[in-house]
Symmetry: C2
Subunit: 437 residues, 2 copies
Amino acid sequence: MSLINETHDINLTSWVSCANDASTDFPIQNLPFAVFRRKDSNEEFRGGVAIGSQVLDLNVVANANIFTGLAQEAVVAANAAALNEFMGMGIEYWSALRLALSKALRAGSEHQATLETSLVSQADIEFSMPCHIGDYTDFYTSIYHATAVGSLFRPDNPLLPNYKWVPIGYHGRASSIDVSGQEFHRPKGQTKAPDAEVPSFGPAKRIDYELEMGIYLGKGNELGDAISIKNAEDHVFGFCVFNDWSARDLQAWEYQPLGPFLAKNFASTVSPWIVTTEALAPYRTAWTRDENDPQPLEYLDSEENRKQGSFDVTMDVQIETAKMRKEGVEASKVSQSSFKHSYWTVAQMVTHHTVNGCNFIPGDMLGSGTQSGPEHIEAGSMLELSRGGKEAITLNNGEQRKFLEDGDKVIMRGWCEKSGFARIGFGSVEGTLLPAK
Amino acid sequence: MSLINETHDINLTSWVSCANDASTDFPIQNLPFAVFRRKDSNEEFRGGVAIGSQVLDLNVVANANIFTGLAQEAVVAANAAALNEFMGMGIEYWSALRLALSKALRAGSEHQATLETSLVSQADIEFSMPCHIGDYTDFYTSIYHATAVGSLFRPDNPLLPNYKWVPIGYHGRASSIDVSGQEFHRPKGQTKAPDAEVPSFGPAKRIDYELEMGIYLGKGNELGDAISIKNAEDHVFGFCVFNDWSARDLQAWEYQPLGPFLAKNFASTVSPWIVTTEALAPYRTAWTRDENDPQPLEYLDSEENRKQGSFDVTMDVQIETAKMRKEGVEASKVSQSSFKHSYWTVAQMVTHHTVNGCNFIPGDMLGSGTQSGPEHIEAGSMLELSRGGKEAITLNNGEQRKFLEDGDKVIMRGWCEKSGFARIGFGSVEGTLLPAK
């Protein structure tokens, strides 16, 4: 488990002066990774690290050969069009590179002159997926979301008896996950209105977002070998903000008995930066359950997990409609929640997923499931905000929404803030719903 | 859609004389692809084509440069440790290579002398996965299986209202799919007996197999572009026999509301050879539904699909226990079914999967779902054969089974036979259950 160390010191400053602004998502204490190239160029995509409004080009860093040992090996691996190899190296390598980058970017670093030439403005870059996602699994870790959605789909039976025992998850589609900026057409499919005799085919009417934390696996495990809860987090490279777009009317008709399928796999969008588990060390919180709830089975329990198993990452959602863009109105914030509300911890997700011997490959992704909080305004989907499409929400320019309309852009952000520590931001994930083809 | 052509002619014979035996799975009319190397060697894995008891080494064929045009391009791509690039080239390339291979292997071929040196006995090789599977989706296309299993999990509501309208499918785990010969430890996990107050953790007790057809996608589609039913099969490279191992007690406790997860993702096993869609052209059959059943929605319907949308592939299951191996007793056949019983066709699966814009990548796999037939002896799982674990089945050496026991090897085979055409075999997929770790 990553502990607080010198890289988290709030007093560190960088020779990249924009990184010293208290409001930046990317101070020297963050150092998240992405894969990028200059916009509209034919450059190779390669790894980069955010610092203030800039990105440190890891191609330049790797070739400058200024690091040594594990850190140099790691930066060479991260100088690639996908970070899988670097992610698969393991926590010692990630940590060594973080420390080396922290030192090299600090005010007064001997490497300033070398690295100044490697900075590119984030305004001038485009991203690709940070890694190849082999398999993607979506969990269902917000009990508030599970209860709210359960009460819409199964009014008599909202929270199923297994929920408080099993970190419920299901396999999702990896091929349709793309990076922030994704645009997709309103999906078509089968739906059946409650009063209809037979289903019909056409564009889905109830397109929704889901506010999730994306969790990237680093070092994998061999098929047949479970990952113990005690070292589960050592397999977690980092986190992003994740929008798991959903078509609620397709979902309602198709999901029994084997789960959501076409309601989910038309598109999913990740934020470009992977914030490392180590960067989040100051933002760990105790994992708590209602005192009347059952205790976790032994394989899902550890003292460390109880003490600081959760992460307090604030996340919000904004909707920017076509009308807002036309009129120059700012996007309208519709909800805000935190990953700390998760009923299951990341370590529990990892351990549960592998307890039967299932194997992770570096770069695999877990979704946390929609991170709704206890209050209605903390709902992580429009399905919940609109109470199943019954009550429209009003945006800040007066427009109303029950579900998304063509042209709507959804913007999700994530950040951590706490007295005594630097702000750690995730940046944003944006995606736009286009009309059906 | 692949049609019958000169490569299917029953009168063709090969200079590889063992391929002319009427009982071989691999006559010159078949020509399935795998990835192999010599057993216990450090050779590179590369593509191969089965011919009788031999495999034609595509590394030798590619370098011999005896083909031209699309066929030569195709064989160069198939000379690789994974067939994805070849599979992604499309039906013209697959068909050109099939014709070139058919001609080169025919009795009297001018290439006999060149190719004789490229033959390796199948007894002397080992396989790897034939391609990298990016995403794997499991369908549920046997209405007999869906009804039988439904009646065990939901006695009051066995076949859900969507079944006859929606080709039900769900995402599976790609990382834990391996090739025939896979051995795996009995998975552990949470189960809850119906009369238990709380769940418990331990080795699963109800380990089962599922007899499926595996379907490999060839040419993919761009995210956002649906594949029409009219050309859906042009995206299907070929087929294998597929064992989708299942832990029924884990499944019963975890599967609501998001579907099976740890009950399935500990292991799945494919037969090594991919029998191409074109090789199966003589074994197409009409797709029929009960006359009282609803007709498919327009996007899932075409005249071609109705006329010859199904494939009559016979599949059987044998169990070989540890005791049988010790006593030298042959494996015991426990059921036999056919892919022709599928309620949905391959074209319908492909079209449905992409109708919302979901994208396929070359090498993606679809499982047909357990291919149970209408009779009890055609059940494709032990769950069905043992009527939910209530009635043991008796093996040919007198041993009894409700579910699999440690040391049991499951062997599944597939083949097509029909008067006027050569037998097209799939070979077998074998896998062994080891004790829990």
